[in-house]
């Protein structure tokens, strides 16, 4: 825990300590709050999962959904400044670190009507190598084009601005699969019903998550990390205290100043069905 410096270090160490026993094993702890990878509270998520560690993010890939279940990043002000100076350039590719039977191929998305939506955003990546890694299909979900290009893109930008302002932010992004049945691309890739982006701001010791439908529109909902676990079956920040997890922080508004707002609405009510983690 020597990485935690400053006036909050004692409190953080104390709140982190009990969680280590249950944290998922990881080969790249540097991407996670308190070096603890997200925990799968719902055991049904666990089959055919593999952690992939990349230079600027880590993800847990599911061979059942053929998507990530989460991608995690530690964003710093310096990284965002470097990333903003880098043009987008990448090549979507099947992930060579996954067995063929578990991964998606480019053909799965062809003529699907869905965007290949980055989970860890390419816009967060500070160099060519990291950016190209973000174009791995292991880091991609079938995303509604309107959602990907507009609201979700602006949520990604709002989190970058927050990371610059606060110095650092931990981010875990992923899909939510709700309901009795789901859409499936090419009889292989499950289509998320919603997307989430959870953030933890160490300087404020506050956390919360954006949740939005994987559908056209401008509505999003803010939830606490504890509420997010009920929706996803995943504890995205196992190292945080229950006090931080149960208090939803005020999330930055994703309305960009560059153009006329489209009447974005943060809603109190969204038809999300909570589910208790399976035993």
């Amino acid at each position: 825990m020597t990485v935690l410096l400053g006036r909050f270090s004692l409190a953080v160490v104390l709140t982190l300590a009990p969680a280590f026993a249950s944290a998922a094993e990881t080969a790249c702890p540097q991407h996670f709050v308190g070096r603890a990878a997200p925990d799968l509270a719902n055991a049904k998520l666990a089959p055919q999962t593999r952690e992939l560690c990349y230079s600027e993010f880590a993800l847990l890939h599911s061979g059942v959904t053929r998507t990530p279940l989460w991608s995690a990043e530690h964003l710093t002000r310096a990284q965002i400044d470097t990333a903003r100076a880098l043009d987008r350039e990448g090549t979507f590719h099947p992930d060579p670190n996954l067995p063929r039977r578990e991964r998606t191929e480019l053909t799965d998305y062809a003529r699907s009507g869905f965007d290949r939506g980055h989970v860890a955003p390419s816009g967060d990546m500070p160099n060519r190598q990291a950016q190209q890694e973000s174009f791995s299909l292991a880091n991609i979900i079938p995303q509604n084009p309107d959602n990907n290009r507009d609201l979700w893109s602006d949520i990604e930008a709002a989190v970058r601005t927050l990371a610059r302002r606060e110095g650092e932010v931990y981010v875990v992004t992923g899909p939510i699969f709700q309901g009795e049945d789901l859409q499936q691309l090419n009889e292989r890739v499950l289509v998320p019903t919603h997307v989430f982006k959870a953030i933890y701001v160490p300087r404020r010791q506050q956390a919360g998550a954006y949740v939005a439908p994987n559908a056209p529109g401008d509505t999003w909902k803010a939830v606490s990390i504890a509420e997010l676990e009920q929706l996803t079956g995943i504890d995205v920040f196992p190292a945080l205290s229950s006090e931080i997890k149960t208090t939803a922080m005020a999330l930055p508004d994703p309305d960009p100043p560059r153009r006329k707002p489209r009447a974005r609405r943060q809603v109190e009510e969204m038809p999300l069905r909570e589910r208790m983690p399976a035993e």
């Binding site: 043009d87 979507f92 480019l106 174009f135 084009p145 709700q178 789901l182």
Partner: protein, 84 residues
């Protein structure tokens, strides 16, 4: 801007200002925003965008079997949620 061959693959993605350009076999997606500023950077960006659009037009013009309208995307199937 990296050169792309329109409709040639499902892989290329490039940015131009805040525009994102994605190559698909059934479409080339262009989204985001771009200010073509009245300076040398604006000229460079305008040429890059024109170069891309010229290539798209050439490929479409050369297609003797170009349909009036593409059929709609393949409808996804429905499966039971494995996590419920």
């Amino acid at each position: 801007m990296k050169k792309i061959t329109p409709f040639a693959n499902e892989a290329d993605s490039v940015g131009l200002g805040d525009l994102t350009i994605e190559n698909r076999t059934d479409q080339v997606s262009v989204y985001g925003s771009l200010d073509l500023t009245r300076d040398k950077q604006g000229l460079k960006n305008a040429r890059a965008l024109k170069g891309l659009l010229d290539k798209v037009v050439r490929v479409l013009e050369a297609d003797k079997k170009l349909p009036d309208k593409l059929p709609p995307p393949k409808a996804p199937s429905r499966v039971k949620n494995p996590f419920q």
